[in-house]
Each structure stands twice: as C-alpha cells, then as structure tokens.
Amino acid sequence: MSRAADARLTATLTAASSDLLSYLQRRVGTDDAPDLLGETMVVAWRRVAELPIEPERARMWLFGIARGTLLNHARGERRRWALADRVRGHVGTDAAAPPADAGAEVRDAIARLDPELAEVVRLVHWDGFALAEAAEVLGLPPSTARGRYARAKEELRVALGVGASTGG
C-alpha cells in the first residue's frame, strides 16, 4: 500500500464516516450500524489499491462498500467489530427527533416496493444523493436508475394517494 493511497483513504474515510454511519443507521438502526461502519472501513483498507483517485468517486466507492455490508447483513451474517465499540453506545441523541410514528406510513410504502426500486428512493430522498450518484452507489447505468426511480415514484403516488405536481 503506497503512502499516497494510505493518506487518501484516511482522508476519504474521515470525511465520509459520519454520512456513512447515518446511511447505515437509516437502514439497520443505531445498534447494528456501528458494526457495519467498522466492516465498511476494514473492507476499504483491504481494497485500498482500488481506491479511486478523484475524491467524489472515492466517496461513492465507500458507499458502494457500505452497501455490500448491508447485503451481508440482510443475508443474516452478523459480525461484531471491536473497533465499532468506540462508537456503539456513544452516539448522541436524535438531532431533531420526530414523533415516533412520523413518516411511518411512507416508510411502509417504500418498504413494500420492489427492493431495487426502494433503494433508489432511499438514496435520493433519505441520503440526499443525486440520481446519478445513486446509480453509482448501486452499480447501475444512470438510465436504469432513472427508470427505477420513475417507476418507484409512480407506485408510491398510487400507494399514498398523492397526485402529480402541477404548476410552472
């Protein structure tokens, strides 16, 4: 591992770790998220030779690895990382905690979508990614991501009884 790559990955992980933790928390909760963050970091160090040079690509690369840990988690694999103890149990309170049932109906509607459609919606509306960035995290062509997003929103409008926007 070159010193340059070492420094770049350290910088990229440091800059992205808070957003990575939030991304993971939104999907697996605050208890499991630190372990998945730890796994993301360890995998990133193991694959440091593949780290993209361009900072924004490097950031997306990390989210791609994080997504991989979520897939393992969904398959039932559970790993506890000692390095995650640093964060586990030491996160703050919810920044502006909404009522417990706020958004529940919408979250349920998203969860009822095909998983591939649901994740595009989450990446865009929960994590703030542009559609092109969401495509990169998912390893999809941008056109495929756009198509899935459009289908997802169509199905959500029906499920939630929300009409299309109007105006100009």
């Binding site: 790993r79 000692a82 390095l83 640093r86 964060v87 920044a95």
Partner: protein, 219 residues
C-alpha cells in the same frame, strides 16, 4: 413550480439518525487500518464467519494446525486459529480457510470466558466430526444461487492477493475456482452456525470471522 408533495413526504420519512463524536470516528478509521491488513496477532478465540472458498477436497484440522505445506502465508492475526481447513480448487490451486471467534466487547471484558468456552466446544466438536462428510454442499449451492439473485451486481471472487473478497462485479464473471470457493465457504459457515445454534450460542452476540486465502498462482 409547485414542489412535488410526494418529494416532501419522502424526505420527511427518513429515519432519524444519531451523530457520533468525530474524534471517535477518526479513531475507528485508524483502528480499521490495523484490521485491514492481517498483521496483528490476536490472543484468544474469535469466532467469525468465514469468507467463501471452493475446493474439491476438504481436510478438517482441529487445534489450529496449519495445512497446505506452508504455501499460504497468514498474517499474525490468524496464527492461532481454532480450526483450519485446506482444500484444492478445480484448477489445482490450493487454499486454506481459518476461523477465529470474536465476542462482542473485543478482547476485554467478561465475555472472554464465554468466548473460550465456545472455542473449546467448537474444537472438541471439530476433532470428532467428519466435516467433509457432513457438509451440505447442495444447500450451499442453493444459498449461493439465492445470494446471486438478491445481489445481481455484486459477487465474491478470489482477489489478486489470494484472499476471497467481495467485488462489485456480476456473478457471471466468477471463475469455477471462485464459485467452488464460495460454495465451500457457505457450506462450512452453515455447518458451524448449525452447531453453534444447537449449542445455544447467541449469534447476535458472537460472530465467526474467517479468512480464506489461496496460494499464489504461478506466472
């Protein structure tokens, strides 16, 4: 333009998150760097679910016996695994998988006594069990097919340094060696998990971490 009501609803549905101290996150980055390269010797038993490797033969060796005639170098972290398995891929390439058990809380705390109990139980079981005969390879192949269906843009291959690793590639890019490695890994994992479950081990607390590494390919 009127903002789409649906967009507002979707944005408002995001689950709340909790911030972590930036200093703690920085220390995680440093700790992960140490974990990322298998160099550090760890004392005690770690249970970790292994990565997948596929080989045509499987030899079980209890007590951390190194196999593969020294063809595969393991870092200090895996010097004392509680079990190790060697096998040969369809190409003839030799591989080895080693497992360690990791309890929540790492190397400190009261969990270490329980970790050693689990280790002793697993060692005793492995020394008296014909793993090669008991592995359910058919179930493992079905598991791999399910994984491929659920994760069509990601798969597991033997990386350039010989470690089995996750890559953002189509499953169709796997070689026969990659696939066999993954199938055997899944079979071993299932067997270990089944035994641990039968012994009452809480899999939400304990995890098995394994390394699967293959000998270098001759140029």
């Amino acid at each position: 333009m009127t903002r789409d009501t649906l967009d507002d609803l979707l944005a408002g549905s995001a689950p709340a998150t909790r911030d972590a101290d930036p200093a703690l996150l920085r220390s995680m980055v440093t700790a992960a760097r140490g974990e990322g390269a298998p160099k550090r010797a760890r004392h005690g038993l770690r249970v970790g679910l292994g990565l997948g490797l596929g080989l045509t033969t499987l030899l079980a060796a209890g007590g951390g016996v190194a196999i593969a005639g020294g063809l595969i170098e393991w870092g200090p972290r895996y010097e004392n695994p509680y079990n190790a398995f060697a096998f040969t891929l369809p190409s003839g390439r030799e591989c080895e998988t080693r497992f360690i058990v990791e309890a929540s809380g790492g190397d400190e705390g009261p969990d270490q006594d329980a970790a050693r109990d689990i280790e002793r139980s697993l060692q005793a079981w492995l020394q008296t069990t014909d793993l090669q005969g008991s592995l359910n390879m058919e179930r493992a192949r079905r598991d791999v097919a399910d994984i491929d269906a659920q994760s069509p843009d990601q798969t597991v291959v033997i990386g350039p340094d010989g470690w089995l690793m996750d890559v953002p590639q189509l499953p169709s890019t796997r070689t026969a060696d990659d696939l066999q490695a993954l199938v055997i890994d899944r079979a071993l994992r299932s067997e270990l998990l089944d035994h641990m479950t039968a012994e009452g081990v809480d899999l939400h607390v304990w995890s098995i971490i394994g390394g699967v590494k293959c000998a270098a390919v001759a140029p």
